[in-house]
Symmetry: C2
Subunit: 549 residues, 2 copies
């Protein structure tokens, strides 16, 4: 290796060049950009879900742990990314990718994101973000208004008030939920006489001062896993997330909730927050929010709604009633990179009371000084990108009516798909869609009959085989690469709450049609036909014929 | 308003169009993209820092809290962004923007970011990220190796091991620090006999089980504010961040640390983490990491290094010795959007022990199942964008030697600027640069003389006036918009630890030259000349002439 000639490539001059704006439009970099655009357009137009390549094989391209001594050319790295990353990534925006909450992206996000990347603002303080600060506050105000519908005067008063916050923008729903519970915890165990508050003194001193045996957060057993993560992070403990039983529609049971509250009282454990779910991750169901608001009010506890998925349903005049009571929540989580159709990496939490976030406020000398408009004083994160600009753009370009149409479309598509599954004799709808999520599985007619007649023990046996088959179908379909549904485990009433594996379908991509969903079913049937001789099928035949003996 | 014609614009057909890949290259969207690029190039080539417009005036453009009922055209929104956001944002990449850690961006990041935005992968699990997952693990491995220099075999063994993690990528240094302290807390108060561990049982039960009166984290008084935020979030309490005194160079004093440890022991408070700072935010100083490692080892506590700013100094053969001992840390924070020159929104924490993150691991049914390669099991955040792709690109395109050159350049530029300030008779160097950060202020020769002769009371009086003047100079310079230094408050030895306001300069933009820094000083002098009749100057004259009486 000729070290001298290589070393020449890392001159300061070359380094300065990469930090300098290239002269548009004939430059190497703009040519490169055009190549990238063409390649991406090709990739995005290709409506497959993923090229199936074993992860272990892909790992080989990413196994060098040495940072290269010498630089590689931008064009070389771009080619590497196109060949090894783009070609091996998942088409999350494919109409037949209906398995996760990562969905289609409006194409205008690509040019607009460029503004965000190029300006590289840091939202932690106005000195590094200027116009982005009022823009972010406006976005919070717009979504606050969507949820809480306060009058003009409210927003005129609070939108840009430096001592108050209508919410906080963050990297996603998990941080939003943590922020909500953090604020709730700090308010519940605040300063009191000589006690300086949990913020300064911590959980241990707070429990001793308030004379409790512990603190708890209540949520249905269908709550998102980020809540138990939040309980761990916040020093509450995962076991202090009290999982309340749900009804047949995966909604929290108010009677069970009241019983838990009573139990906590007897144990001298203080519940400081109640979380209502607006769109459970697995089945898209909504807790009875109005009833939860009543109970929270009665007990004087913070009422948080995890609307990461479902809150944008408020855009729909037709379906917003399903979220009734959300406007009584003390705080609400919304994920912008889900049903607001913004690129990955932005969520937010709203607070009804503009002073609620003061319980987590912090200041420093060189930054976020008291009374400044710096957004960093009320966020869990420090330095943050200007993602709010993309939320702002989506809200403007799609508009309230556009979102309403997208929401209605997804819910109605899910309803039609559910109807279709119910009409088929070889599939079983497991959870009907309340929003745009449903679960189902393959169960041929004679097995359905056998399950109806089976006792609990036999039913468990049959379901275990079905769960294995469901898993194989889901994995095989993913590997075929043309469609993707996810799978999860549910404990439906009809099978005495024993866990079964199901296909999970999330319908938020407006390009997904009834035909695409027909294809998903057809392909699953085809996969089934290849399994006829498998051990599981033999076992299934044995169990179901035996049951008719 | 003609409601019918407007409503037509929100047809499902139009909505589908925005989710469809436009036909390159003559489409409206690609024309729009070219316009945006040209405008951005213009903005970025303009080497001013910011157009000074009052924030209150800017807020007027962002004051509507209603989400528009009808959509606006993409071109209209793009024009709005260019006029009202781009034009009113801060030129963080300007060579004369030397006030914050938000710095220049290599221009290649703009086309490469497009890949990340368009693919919209979600790193929480492999089903939504595929090749991005091994890529992210490789990036963690590369930076782990930069810090810990383990042999090939180590990385061959652990890099892609699904049950282990060399670190976690997150949105920035704050979440990285929280993650480190979270893991440390959970390991220190882990399962023990019947006690299921702090993860499940929370802080209160842990303190009772372990029979402590509290827990604490030790860090120098110059530690970043994110650490006390972490203490609040994690239920430790802000007051349990024990601030250890520093020496004249803003470095933790090992003797003071030992005294604090002794004191905690007497109070039966258990310190579970010691944080060393590698690049203090205000002055860029580095704690004696090797000594801290000894003390942490001796006391069996987690040793975390906050290298958000300074860790990339390891690239430099010339200066990496200043971080000696960092390789003994249990965990290290690095901000990629600082000295790795990646766009805003990515930091990471590395752990020496690949099993350390197991103390915060979490799983769910539909996602991040046990044994999967899903990265979401060991991150505080849930859904996350593929920013690792940009870190990967920076490491490859800049290379080890490129980074070394950038680091050396910044440190040496800072040294020359410090020498120059010391040679001037109207400025005072307050903190000399150990890395690429320094602080100084304007103090004319006769005031310097007066300060030398003054008693403590008089010195405080003079410094208070000087602090007011420093503040005015800094704000005026910012408003003039050609250069930007930040300001902070420090408590130097020479003024008996009384706080003074200083200019703070961060030199990480390779386009910043000695000439640019000369200009900064010249402009500050000009601002001073306009203040001659101000009250503060009259007061300063009175105080300094009186002192010579």
């Amino acid at each position: 290796m000729n070290k001298n000639s290589k070393a020449a490539a890392v001159s300061m001059e070359n380094l300065l060049r990469i930090f300098t704006v290239p002269e548009a439009p004939g430059s190497t970099l703009s040519r490169l950009e055009n190549d990238i655009s063409a390649n991406l357009a090709g990739f995005l137009q290709d409506h497959i879900v993923a090229e199936e390549t074993d992860l272990v094989k892909i790992e080989r391209d990413f196994s060098d742990s040495l940072i290269p001594e010498q630089p590689v050319y931008v064009s070389e790295q771009a080619q590497f990314l196109l060949d090894k990353v783009v070609a091996q990534s998942v088409h999350t925006s494919s109409p037949s990718f209906v398995g996760h909450m990562t969905s289609a992206l409006p194409y205008f996000m690509i040019p607009l994101s460029k503004i965000m990347i190029a300006l590289n603002q840091n939202l932690v303080k106005t000195e590094t973000s200027k116009a982005f600060t009022p823009l972010e506050r406006q976005v919070l105000g717009m979504l606050h208004r969507l949820v809480y519908e306060q009058p003009d005067e409210f927003y005129d008063r609070w939108l840009h008030d430096s001592h108050h916050h209508l919410g906080a923008i963050c990297s996603g729903g998990t941080v939003a939920n943590i922020t909500a519970l953090w604020a709730a915890r700090n308010r519940a165990f605040g300063p009191d006489g000589d006690f300086p508050g949990i913020t300064r003194s911590g959980v241990f001193a707070a429990m001793r001062h308030y004379g409790c045996e512990g603190m708890a957060v209540l949520v249905s057993e269908r709550g998102h896993y980020s809540l138990s993560k939040a309980a761990d992070v916040l020093g509450i403990g995962r076991d202090q997330i009290v999982a309340v039983e749900t009804d047949g529609q995966n909604r929290i049971r108010p009677d069970a909730l009241r019983a838990k509250l009573k139990q906590l009282q007897q144990q001298n454990i203080r519940p400081f927050a109640l979380v209502g779910v607006a769109g459970t991750t697995e089945t898209g169901n909504i807790d009875p929010l109005d009833q939860l608001a009543d109970i929270a009010e009665e007990h004087g506890i913070h009422f948080h709604v995890d609307g990461a998925w479902g809150a944008p349903t408020l855009f729909s005049e037709r379906y917003r009633g399903r979220l009734k009571g959300i406007e009584r929540a003390d705080s609400v989580t919304i994920d912008a990179h889900k049903q607001l159709y913004v690129p990955m990496g932005v969520g937010l939490v709203l607070f009804r009371d503009p002073s609620a976030l003061s319980s987590i406020e912090h200041h420093a000398q060189y930054i976020i000084r008291k009374g400044s408009k710096d957004l960093g004083s009320a966020t869990l994160e420090g330095s943050r990108p200007g993602m709010a600009m993309l939320v702002h753009s989506a809200l403007k370009i799609i508009g309230r009516r556009g979102y309403a149409m997208l929401i209605d479309n997804g819910i109605e598509l899910a309803q039609r798909f559910a109807d279709r599954i119910e009409s088929l004799d070889d599939f079983e709808l497991v959870s009907a869609p309340e929003l745009n999520i449903l679960t189902y599985r393959w169960v041929p007619a004679q097995v359905q009959a056998a399950l109806r007649d089976a006792d609990v023990a036999r039913s468990i046996e049959i379901n275990e085989v079905l769960s294995r088959i469901t898993r194989i179908i889901q994995k095989t379909q993913r590997e075929l690469g043309k469609a993707f549904v996810s799978r999860t485990r549910l404990t439906p009433d009809r099978y005495a709450h024993h866990a079964i594996t199901v296909f999970r379908v999330v319908l938020a991509n407006p390009l997904t049609t009834d035909e695409v969903l027909c294809y998903v079913i057809d392909e699953q049937r085809e996969i089934v036909s290849t399994l006829a001789d498998s051990e599981d099928f033999v076992e299934l035949a044995r169990l179901t014929s035996a049951s008719t003996d």
